[in-house]
């Protein structure tokens, strides 16, 4: 199995989720994160004092899928999260050795 970690723009979340469900992804973990990258943050001014905000709000997806589905998931995220503007995000793929569904105890692919 693979763990696919993706950082995307928050407003793209719904769209990506729907696209992934469409290709058979049955679960994911979503975290609100602060992203740092080439997309620069902004400066905020409080009573004339400037602060550089280096982080941009992003949403981080973690999806574990069977090896077979992995590439398609990456492709789907890429296509739906794309706005061609800097800051669209990244996708990373890691190997997962083992998976368990708490409720049933099913393991690996059956657990997903």
């Amino acid at each position: 199995m693979k763990l696919i970690i993706a950082a995307i723009k928050p407003f793209k979340l719904e769209e990506v989720r729907e696209a992934l469900t469409a290709i058979g992804v049955r679960g994911m973990m979503v975290t609100e994160i602060k992203g740092f990258g080439s997309q620069s943050g902004h400066t905020e001014i409080y009573r004339g004092a400037e602060y550089a905000v280096n982080f941009v709000p992003k949403v981080r997806l973690e999806i574990v899928v069977a090896d077979a589905l992995s590439d398609q998931v990456v492709k789907t995220i890429r296509e739906t999260a794309k706005t061609d503007k800097i800051g669209d995000g990244k996708i990373f793929v890691l190997d997962v050795e083992h998976a368990v569904r708490v409720r049933t105890g099913e393991t690996d692919d059956d657990a997903l």
């Binding site: 905020e44 001014i45 409080y46 009573r47 004339g48 004092a49 602060y51 550089a52 905000v53």
Partner: protein, 473 residues
């Protein structure tokens, strides 16, 4: 002194006396009245107004000021500010009935009153306090509570200057000492007098505070409250030192929402503060109310416009800071200026304060965290001096009244002289509170220390001083 308010209220007085079935004609007014006679000079409409104003001014401190300040600090210090304001107000109230009221509002010296009314000795449901109209009185308890809220909020204003880096109990100790040595004396100097029905009586003519005697005009506390607190704040942030990470880490306000709520409630409560300071409910009270409203609105707009020009967009923090600056500036002028005058004062104060909180502060590098000096100090000074100009009847102002004649008559207004008097009054206040504050902060720093450990400051005062978090979502 608010002598001139006599002018504004002469009709009110007339109607009041008419309603009281007493002849309104001057020669029939009672000079030097007895308590029994005063009892017949009380109007329940005035009493109600004073009770309402008192509630409004308490609301200014809790929750308004606490939210305004708290919203501007980082989450980890939010609770500490709420706590500081809440406890300082409580201490201020107790101290006020214990000795404060007596020290501020009984005869003694031109600098401070006596202890004859300590623990409110002699004050009862049958004693009365003078207003600014001949033969118009309010229950003394109503005057006690109204002034109590002023004594309670003023020290709380100071804490914004060294927010996020102060030890709790030493701060409380400072507030006690400062009330005794700075607030009560200055309140006495600026506001104490025998009352309109007595000033013409030789025995009482001398019972006046120093600045009041000079003829300084301070309708609702520009010197006593704002300059007083603003200077103490500046001294405090210098003695305490900068926050760790000052100008290095970003320290954005953790909740501008709460800051806006605080500012809004401050605005609402300020009507009690300024219009309540007329001590009765008449046309002049309504004027003070209107001027307060206009100055705040005008200062909001001018601050927002300055930001639009400087940064290309207006900010909420700018808007509420402007409103506050306008409210501060109009405080001494509320019952003296014309609506047009209040408008101009409001338009001017924001740019001036803006320069102090942005440029000047950066330049000198002091860490007046929440701009107590930049807004209350500077705005208060501008307002105090401006009052000397705007009170001029030639500019539609209310002028001043001569209470040494009974009943009081309008005095001739000399703007130049009045402005000088205002400047002198500001000078005395700045010096007095500056010295007292420095000595107090310095001593407390030596004996108990003012600052938490660097680790505690980093972790935040909520956990380290109070063992709580403001939020546990």
């Amino acid at each position: 002194m608010k002598m001139q308010t006599k002018l504004g209220t002469v009709l009110g007085a007339l109607s009041a006396s008419l309603m009281a079935g007493l002849p309104a004609l001057a020669q029939d007014m009672i000079q030097n009245p007895s308590a029994e006679q005063m009892a017949t000079m009380v109007n329940k409409g005035d009493t109600t107004w004073m009770l309402v104003s008192t509630a409004l001014v308490l609301m200014m401190s809790i929750p308004a000021l606490a939210l305004f300040y708290g919203g501007l600090v980082r989450t980890k210090n939010m609770l500490s500010l709420l706590m500081q304001v809440f406890v300082i107000v409580s201490v201020g109230a107790i101290l006020w009935i214990a000795v404060g009221y007596s020290l501020a509002f009984t005869p003694g010296s031109p600098y401070i009153g006596g202890l004859s009314k300590a623990m409110l000795a002699g004050v009862g449901t049958g004693t009365y306090a003078a207003t600014f109209s001949n033969n118009v009185y309010i229950p003394e308890y109503a005057f006690v509570i109204f002034q109590m809220t002023f004594a309670a909020i003023t020290p709380a204003l100071i804490i914004g200057a060294f927010a996020e880096r102060i030890k709790f109990w030493p701060l409380v100790l400072f507030c006690i000492g400062w009330s005794l040595l700075a607030y009560y004396p200055i309140a006495h100097m600026v506001w104490f007098w025998a009352g309109p029905d007595f000033l013409s009586v030789p025995d009482f003519a001398g019972d006046i505070g120093l600045l009041w005697g000079w003829g300084a005009l301070d309708f609702a506390g520009g010197t006593v409250v704002h300059i007083n607190a603003g200077i103490a704040g500046l001294v405090g942030c210098l003695v305490v030192g900068k926050r760790i990470g000052h100008n290095k880490e970003p320290m954005p306000p953790h909740s501008l929402t709460l800051t806006m709520v605080g500012a809004s409630l401050l605005w609402v409560g300020w009507f009690g503060f300024n219009a309540g300071s007329n001590l009765e409910s008449n046309g002049l009270t309504a004027l003070a109310f209107l001027n307060t409203f206009i100055a705040a609105a005008a200062a909001t707009l001018s601050w927002v416009l300055v930001e639009q020009l400087r940064h290309g967009r207006p900010s909420l923090l700018g808007a509420v800071t402007g409103a506050l600056a306008g409210l501060v500036a109009v405080t001494p002028a509320a019952g003296f200026a014309s609506p047009g005058g209040a408008l101009i004062l409001g338009l001017i104060v924001s740019p001036v304060c803006y320069v102090f909180v942005s440029t000047v502060k950066k330049k000198f590098g002091y860490d007046d965290s929440l701009d107590v000096f930049g807004v209350h100090g500077i705005g208060g000074i501008l307002g105090a001096i401006g009052t000397g100009i705007l009170a001029d009847p030639a500019l539609g102002g209310q002028g001043w009244f001569d209470y040494t004649v009974f009943p009081a008559v309008a005095g001739t207004y000399d703007m130049g002289a009045q402005v000088m008097t205002q400047i002198k009054a500001v000078g005395v206040t700045v010096l007095w509170t500056g010295i007292v504050s420095f000595v107090l902060f310095y001593l407390i720093k030596l004996v108990f220390g003012l600052r938490p450990s660097a680790d505690d400051e980093r972790q935040g005062l909520d956990q380290t001083s109070h063992g709580e978090s403001a939020y546990n979502y």
